[in-house]
Symmetry: C2
Subunit: 149 residues, 2 copies
Amino acid sequence: MAGTDAALPSLELVARSCLCRRVQHASRAIGKRFDDAFRPVGLNNWQFTLLMAVTAEAGPTVNQIAAELGMDRTTATKNLRILERRGLIEMRVDAQDRRIRRSALTAEGQQVLQAALLRWRQVNDAVGGSLRPEQLASLNAALETIAQA
Amino acid sequence: MAGTDAALPSLELVARSCLCRRVQHASRAIGKRFDDAFRPVGLNNWQFTLLMAVTAEAGPTVNQIAAELGMDRTTATKNLRILERRGLIEMRVDAQDRRIRRSALTAEGQQVLQAALLRWRQVNDAVGGSLRPEQLASLNAALETIAQA
DNA sequence: GACTATTGGGTGGATATACACCTAATAGAG
DNA sequence: CTCTATTAGGTGTATATCCACCCAATAGTC
């Protein structure tokens, strides 16, 4: 309408084109789907991701895990502690540099992760399958671009 | 490697192709960008989205807002209460059906939202501009598909 | 070796999110 | 009109997330 600042975008435009809202909405939805899939093995989606990150390298540090997942370091600290309390991972001080704490899966953690992998593939295939192959590839590239900002 | 269960996906494959992890990573990154943009006006990204949802319809209910944003109803309740405490919105019981609570922006809420709109456009354009136009369109479609699951 | 800067990490607080469970108001069946 | 089902919503709990601030260990300088 006239009378409002012409420099301001209309509310309809914002609601339609807000990337933040779209990504957050999708994030909640996909997180819930993976939570449901992992519930029988007692994990949620980020715990699965964290277990994966712990196994990805040899004894990754808190900082390495946080950087890899793009989360705040203190968030990684607190989430790792929960997995540690449940006995799925171990954190131990590095021998050379005593500031550093390195993570590793316990035997139980490996078992839980193995049990989760089949469920992961099912739900990941299901979600990916709802997109056309070229759309999935484009989505991955776009998400990576956004994540690196 | 041979020796592991052939039915299990390799850890490398999982790390590379996990849609949940990618979406969550992008969600954290973009949320942080919008948080930074809105910080000068005292909002964060979801508060902005919530204010937008409150103005989108005439006096939307808690359920309507939660459905529109794909968030849990109880999450909407608690987030709305924070905006209410700050005096940015008002919740009032519907005259016809006293179970229903309808939301509306206060004058201060409108001012804050107006101040945020310019910042929104800057950061939304910046993020969208890092993608090619057809990639952005494809991203929007893919995110909507995922959100509707 | 002492002083300072850098780095790895933790704590406390505010808010974000969802689940299990609950209350209150309305709607519908008889 | 009463009883029950449905619907709108809230509370408590556990965990997720980030920020401001802190501590301890190492590295670098002299």
